[in-house]
Each structure stands twice: as structure tokens, then as C-alpha cells.
């Protein structure tokens, strides 16, 4: 029997065919900082949206201090502090704190004494008259907190709040979090940084596949323990990692960069991928891993020496294909499945002389691609949005592979994809690599890396770790521990 706080039982939420929450149970107690961890697509953000009242649940019971509670109607009690503050950049800090609570006043609103005290307490006083857009991210987040405190919110959800903050700024943020908890408020911290969970949370819940898999507290709350819980294989996912390494023997690299330097994210990176090799880059947000992959794709600018299949910078452009992280950036919602598959092709593949489209050939190519890439669709002419998330992602990857690149670059290739489609996508990547091509991907999940990659590099503060040969690991837990150690290693060194 929980005395006060929020109690959630059997929370369920589906988006079309994707299950985001599958009967999630969690308690949030006043005065504590509750940590939540989980891989991408586990249901963390859905949980935040439901508690924050932005979305309704399909099923489940929520209670607040023992009474039934509907966050959508009672949203005043909850404050969500986003990674990207959801505020009014054109107003001043003080106006942001006041906006939305003008009551019946018709004049330009002024902060009350209570509001000024709140700002004072959060150290916002010097910024009162500054336009929010001109403030640092940390100040903007503090403004968001001030806004919530001023309207007397009881629950504070921090969604990846410090991923773009400096160390000093995050320390400051954590101090505010503890202060909030100290006044009997409920604080929830959602983060990928295991270190923060261990050092700042009373308890940490690990969410996977829409359920809480474990809740750790006290002695049991350690980085290794969370890492283990994050990757422990669920029954359906027992894919053996033995098909890998077919082309390991080939010593020559197909793709390489030397002295590869970005204006801020990384510097002096040397990297190579062999034909037939699948290389994974791993790193938390801000580590430079994502930027590194995007720079290989030419989407992010970097300088240095690049070689792909014997060609330099200019020649490499035609030989590589990039799959963006979100389907919003790769698929065309106004197009059918078939058109989405062919959109990157040109003359002569789908257009003849004078650029006339070869409709019959397009139909044949689209049907061949649907078959080859195991896309579950009724016809090639149905709208892309009618497919499940996993199949949409297969279309996105197929679209890139259709240009027959030498190097395939993927950013989070299975984000928000169900387990079966994941396995099929891994097979596609494996098959493609087996043709003597290279695949480089940025991923955020150890399990993914364990299942599909040959080699992994952990990126931390813009530097590559020594390569990890995945074949050398029998258990994913071992790999997770090593990766956690490599991610932390640089932090200590720095």
C-alpha cells in the first residue's frame, strides 16, 4: 500500500501495430528521484507523454495520492522538462514564467512576488529581462522548471535533460532536482547516462518492450547492473551471432578516413572498414558517434582524407548511401511503397531517354525490391504510411540499397522497430555485407551491436576506442560491461 505519490498499474498504449506500453507498472514516491532507463523504443517517451497528460493511455489505472487520476485533465500537477525546452523563445524569461497563468488580467502580464521568489531561488534573477532565445540551454531549462514550480506542480519529469549541457551545468541541474525532491515533490529522471542514474537516483527502473523489467535501489543500483538489465535477452530474441566474419580474412580496407576532424564533435579520427564487414559506432548523445557517422555520409561536414573503393572525396559520393535515423527524414508520405523504394534512382534505371519514366520497369523493380527485402505489403501502390513501422524501416533501407552502394551508412537502423523486423533487417545487412560491401552504423543498443556487428567502436568525447571484435564475446552482458567501461573511461580521463 503506497501512501502518497503516483501509482500506475497495467498501463497500455499502442500506435497502430506497434505496442509502446504493454502493461507497465510503476510507483513514483514523493521526495525521491526515480530514474528510468531503457533502450530506444522501449516506451520511455510514451510513458512521459501519458504522465504529462499529452496523450491518453489505451488501458491501465493511474492514481495520485490514492485517488484515481487522469493526467489529461489534471495536467497542472505535472511538469515535463524536455531536452529541448518547449517554451516561447520570443518572450523574456520572466514572461515565460508567467505565460499561461494570466487569469483574468487583460494587461501585459507582470510576475507576482511569488514568481520573483521562484526565479530568485533558481538563480534566474539576472536573466529576468533577457529574451529566452538569447539564454543558454541550461537557463532555458531552469526557466522551464521555474514555470512549473510557479504553478505549483507536484511531479517533475526530466526527459534527457542534460544531454546537451556542460558538466557544470548538469551538476547545477541535479542540485535543483534534489532540491525539488527535498520539498516532497516527485522527480523522475529519464536518461541514457547510467552514471547519472547511479549517482543521483534513489531508485532506477529499467524499461524494455513496454514493461518495467527491473527496479534497482541501494547496493543493487550500479552501472553494471543497469547495463545488464538493459541488454538481457528476451526469449524471442535469441538470435545466434555466428554468421558473422565471413570476409574477416580480407585485410584491405574498402572505406577509410584519416585525420578526420569535425568543427566540434570529433577530431583526428582514423577509421577503416573492410569489405564484408559490419562496423558499429556506439556512444551516448554528444559523444560524437552520431556526427561521425553522418560525416561519413557527407551530411555533416568534416575535413581529412577519405577513401572509398579507391575513390577520393568526390568519387565517394556516388558509392555510398545513407539511411537517416528517423523515417521522417527518409520516407515520402505522399508516395506509395513502390515510389518510395525507387525514389533515389534516376536515368537509366527508371527513366529512359528524355527522362521519360519507364513505368513498367518501375513496377517490376518495385516488386523485385519488395520480394528481396521481405517487405510485407499488399501492393506496391499502397501508401507508405499503411505499412507497419518495421516494414517502413525496411523500405527506407531498401531505398538506400537500391542504388547499389559500396558503403551503406545507417543511423540507428532499428529505432522503433519490432523484434521480428529487427531480425529481418539484420539479415538484410548481413546479406549485403556478404556481397563484399561495407556497412557502418551508429547504434545506441548493445544488443543490436552484439547481434549484427563484426566490429564495434565506442566513441567518447570525439575519440574512438580500440576496436572490439564482437566474435570474441559469448555473452552480451560481457560486451555491455566493456562498453560501459569504455564510455566511462574517457570521462575519468577528461
Amino acid at each position: 500500500m503506497s501512501g502518497g505519490g503516483i501509482c500506475i498499474r497495467g498501463l497500455q498504449k499502442r500506435y497502430g501495430s506497434t505496442v509502446a506500453l504493454a502493461g507497465l507498472d510503476i510507483d513514483i514516491k514523493p521526495g525521491e528521484v526515480l530514474g528510468i532507463a531503457g533502450p530506444n523504443g522501449a516506451g520511455k517517451s510514451t510513458l512521459v507523454r501519458i504522465i504529462g497528460g499529452e496523450e491518453g493511455a489505451d488501458a491501465g489505472e493511474l492514481s495520485f495520492d490514492g485517488r484515481a487520476w487522469s493526467p489529461a485533465d489534471n495536467w497542472h500537477a505535472v511538469a515535463v522538462v524536455h531536452q529541448e525546452p518547449q517554451l516561447f523563445p520570443n518572450l523574456t524569461v520572466a514572461e515565460n514564467v508567467v505565460a499561461g497563468r494570466e487569469d483574468t488580467a487583460t494587461g501585459w502580464p507582470k510576475p507576482t512576488d511569488a514568481d520573483i521568489n521562484v526565479m530568485e531561488a533558481l538563480g534566474l534573477r539576472p536573466f529576468r529581462k533577457v529574451r529566452l532565445a538569447d539564454c543558454s540551454l541550461a537557463t532555458q531549462q531552469r526557466t522551464e522548471i521555474a514555470r512549473a514550480v510557479a504553478r505549483d506542480a507536484r511531479v517533475f519529469l526530466f526527459d534527457e535533460p542534460n544531454s546537451a549541457l556542460t558538466n557544470e551545468e548538469s551538476d547545477e541541474l541535479f542540485r535543483e532536482m534534489h532540491k525539488l525532491a527535498g520539498t516532497g515533490r516527485m522527480v523522475v529522471l529519464i536518461t541514457h547516462r547510467l552514471r547519472d542514474l547511479v549517482s543521483h537516483c534513489t531508485r532506477a527502473a529499467v524499461i524494455r518492450d513496454g514493461r518495467v523489467r527491473a527496479t534497482l535501489s541501494g547496493q543493487a543500483l550500479s552501472e553494471e547492473a543497469i547495463a545488464r538489465e538493459l541488454v538481457t535477452e528476451s526469449g524471442a530474441q535469441a538470435v545466434a551471432a555466428n554468421a558473422r566474419g565471413a570476409a574477416q580474412a580480407q585485410p584491405t580496407s574498402l572505406f577509410s578516413v584519416r585525420g578526420w576532424t569535425h568543427r566540434s564533435a570529433f577530431r583526428n579520427v582514423d577509421f577503416a572498414a573492410r569489405p564484408g564487414e559490419i562496423v558499429a559506432l556506439m556512444g551516448v548523445e554528444g559523444s560524437g558517434a552520431r556526427e561521425l557517422l553522418r560525416s561519413f555520409a557527407g551530411v555533416e561536414r568534416a575535413s581529412g582524407e577519405i577513401t572509398l573503393a579507391g575513390a577520393g572525396e568526390v568519387g565517394a559520393r556516388r558509392l555510398r548511401s545513407y539511411v537517416p535515423a528517423t523515417r521522417v527524414a527518409s520516407l515520402y508520405s505522399n508516395f506509395s511503397v513502390g515510389e518510395n523504394l525507387l525514389v533515389r534512382l534516376g536515368s537509366p534505371e527508371i527513366a529512359g531517354p528524355a527522362l521519360a519514366l519507364r513505368k513498367r520497369r518501375m513496377k517490376a523493380l518495385a516488386e523485385a525490391a519488395v520480394k528481396r527485402f521481405l517487405i510485407k505489403t499488399g501492393t506496391t501502390t499502397q501508401p507508405i504510411r499503411s505499412l507497419s513501422g518495421g516494414n517502413q524501416q525496411k523500405v527506407a533501407i531498401a531505398q538506400a540499397l537500391n542504388c547499389s552502394p559500396e558503403l551503406l551508412l545507417l543511423e540507428e537502423p532499428t529505432r522503433g522497430v519490432d523484434i521480428r523486423s529487427k531480425a529481418e533487417i539484420y539479415r538484410l545487412l548481413r546479406d549485403y555485407a556478404a556481397e563484399g560491401k561495407s556497412v557502418v552504423m551508429f547504434c545506441t543498443e548493445v544488443l543490436e551491436l552484439f547481434e549484427v556487428a563484426d566490429t564495434a567502436y565506442v566513441v567518447s568525447e570525439g575519440r574512438l576506442s580500440p576496436p572490439l571484435a564482437i566474435a570474441g564475446y559469448d555473452h552480451v552482458e560481457q560486451l555491455a560491461t566493456d562498453i560501459t567501461r569504455l564510455e566511462a573511461h574517457r570521462h575519468i580521463a577528461a
Binding site: 527518409s330 505522399n334 527513366a351 499502397q382
Partner: protein
């Protein structure tokens, strides 16, 4: 019918329903417009039976042709996800540039006419370059060029009116050139129909091919549907958007020149009032202002519906306010209908 149904295997049902859905969509979309065109014709016939004849029909086609030609170009720009407000002023500049080059400067019509069209293309290049290279929103660029072009029209014509049949003193128009120019839109047949209608049909077929049958159109749809993805996939976003603007400018100039040939008079301010009817035709035709969606047949249908309403109401003479009211109602109504139909479609799909 029954044999076709029995031949379908049981597991091909999603197949059938998807194809059925596509047909249903098209019928809803085009059918709604077609239905409206027929409905308006029937209502006009009931209200005024004796004026419903071939000649009125032909005058509707003539009246729609310049709006339709401009809306072809605008459809391309809107499909690419941009907007063009300057085509009305370009129509005026096309006609006035031709008038000045031909009648005042004395360049033979055979050179002056392509030059005037080139002016339209150059304006499109100007618009497109500012939109893509300097990343100025197309709304602002073309709002600016609308005023710029009108200014240029006033400037080069010294705010005067031109008629090649009555050239200003000191100018001489060779009769052969005059015949050629007027012949561009000459009427023929027992029920005289202007060649301008033929030009509209030819241009509609060409632009229709370009948008629906060529790689250019395919990629333009992609660029309008998801510019980010198109950029990441290295489609020629900049080049194709500029081409869309160039074609829009050139088509507006052509529309202006053809109307000039038909009316034989040009004034500095012609075309400006076409801005909204052309937009209305494209939107009624089903194009989406957010890009990636639009058809040439729809745009032509939209132009036809508007011309029909305009001519019909002119015959019924209920007063000038009614035409304006109808233009407003039809524009909002078409988009509202489209949203309702889209919701129905989504509900069927879910």
C-alpha cells in the same frame, strides 16, 4: 465481373482492397470535381435554358485558357513545396515586354515573341535562385517580384496602352507580322473556337507529361513531399525547384502573350487580378500548399469550374458580388471537401 472475382485467390484480399482503395480515392477526388462541373452546368441550364449552347461552352473554354496555362506553372511550383505569387505580374510583363520589343523597339515578332517568353523564364530563374540559394521564403521573394514586375511593366510601357493594329505614331507593323501575331489565337470553325484553347490543351499535355510521366515530375513530387529526405538522398533539390520556377514564369509570359494576341490590347496592369483565380484553380484541383501533391488534370478541372461559374454568372447577371462570393465559397469548399474525403479515406484504411 463474377469470373474476375472467382479468379481472385482468397489471400489476395488486401491486394484487391488496396487497388479498390486507390480507385475509390481517385473517384472521390476527381469525381467530386467532375460532379461539381456537371452540377454547375445543369443548374445554369435550368436557370437559363436558352443560353446553354455550344457557343457558350466555347467561350468558357476560351475564358479558362489563360488561367489554365498559368495554373499549370503554379502547379509545378506548388508541388515542389514552394509558392509563387508573381505569375500574375509576369503575365502582364510578358504581354507588355512583347508590345514594347515589337511595337516600340521594332524587333520582328518572330524574335520578340521568344524574347518575351525568355523574360518570363529569367524572372523564374530570379525567383528560384533567391529561394534556393539565399533561402528566402518563396512567399516573400515572389511577393517582392510581383511588385517589381508590375513596376517594370509600368516603366517600360511609360504607363501607356498598346495595340499593334493601331501602332503609335512613328512605328510601323508589317502586315505579315500582324497576321502572324493575331493568327496565334485566331478562331476557326462553324462555331468559332480560338486557337488559344488548342495552345492550352497542348501545354497541359506537355506539362502533364512532365509532372506525371517524367523523372523530373517524379523527383519534384519527392522534393515537395519531403524536402529533408530529398536533400539527404542527394536528389537535385535546388536545380529542380529553380526549373519549376522557370517554367512557371515562362508559362505566365505565354499566357499573357496569348491573351494579348486575342484581345490585341495590352495595359500595364493586366494580369494582376489573375493571382487569386489561378491559385483557386490549383487548390480546387487538389494540390496541397504543403507540397508533394497535385495533378494537371485536377488543375485544369479547377480552371474549368471557375470559368464555368464566371461565364454562367455573367449570363445570369445577378450582380458582380455573386461572382466574388462564389469564388470564395468554391475555394474554401473544395479544400474542406478534400479534408472530409481524406478523413473518410483514413477511416476506411484503419
Amino acid at each position: 465481373m463474377t469470373s474476375a472475382e472467382t479468379r481472385e485467390p482468397a489471400d489476395a484480399r488486401p491486394n484487391l482492397s488496396a487497388a479498390g482503395q486507390a480507385t475509390f480515392d481517385l473517384a472521390l477526388r476527381m469525381g467530386g470535381l467532375f460532379f461539381a462541373i456537371v452540377l454547375v452546368a445543369i443548374v445554369m441550364f435550368i436557370l437559363k435554358p436558352n443560353s446553354f449552347n455550344v457557343d457558350v461552352g466555347i467561350s468558357v473554354l476560351r475564358a479558362m485558357s489563360s488561367v489554365a496555362i498559368m495554373s499549370l506553372g503554379l502547379t509545378l511550383v506548388i508541388v515542389s513545396g514552394e509558392i509563387d505569387l508573381s505569375f500574375g505580374a509576369m503575365y502582364g510583363l510578358g504581354a507588355n515586354a512583347l508590345a514594347v520589343l515589337w511595337i516600340v523597339v521594332g524587333i520582328p515578332i518572330y524574335a520578340a515573341l521568344p524574347l518575351a517568353i525568355l523574360v518570363g523564364a529569367a524572372v523564374g530563374l530570379f525567383n528560384g535562385a533567391l529561394v534556393t540559394w539565399l533561402r528566402i521564403p518563396s512567399f516573400i521573394v515572389t511577393l517582392g517580384s510581383y511588385n517589381l514586375l508590375y513596376g517594370v511593366s509600368l516603366w517600360i510601357t511609360h504607363t501607356s496602352t498598346f495595340n499593334p493594329v493601331y501602332p503609335p505614331p512613328g512605328s510601323e507593323i508589317p502586315p505579315a507580322e500582324l497576321d502572324f501575331f493575331i493568327g496565334l489565337t485566331a478562331s476557326f470553325g462553324t462555331h468559332p473556337i480560338s486557337l488559344e484553347v488548342l495552345w492550352m490543351i497542348v501545354l497541359a499535355l506537355m506539362v502533364g507529361w512532365l509532372l506525371h510521366r517524367s523523372l523530373f515530375g517524379f523527383r519534384l513530387m519527392a522534393i515537395g513531399g519531403n524536402p529533408t529526405a530529398a536533400q539527404l538522398a542527394r536528389l537535385p533539390v535546388t536545380r529542380y525547384k529553380i526549373i519549376a520556377f522557370v517554367l512557371c514564369g515562362a508559362l505566365a509570359a505565354i499566357a499573357g502573350i496569348l491573351d494579348f494576341s486575342f484581345i490585341q490590347t495590352t495595359q500595364p496592369n493586366i494580369g494582376l487580378s489573375y493571382t487569386f483565380p489561378v491559385f483557386a484553380a490549383v487548390i480546387i484541383g487538389g494540390a496541397s500548399l504543403s507540397g508533394g501533391k497535385g495533378t494537371i488534370i485536377g488543375t485544369i478541372g479547377g480552371a474549368l469550374l471557375l470559368a464555368e461559374l464566371q461565364q454562367g454568372l455573367a449570363l445570369l447577371t445577378p450582380g458582380p458580388h455573386v461572382q466574388q462570393l462564389f469564388l470564395g465559397i468554391v475555394t474554401i469548399g473544395a479544400v474542406a471537401l478534400d479534408l472530409v474525403l481524406t478523413n473518410i479515406r483514413k477511416r476506411r484504411a484503419a
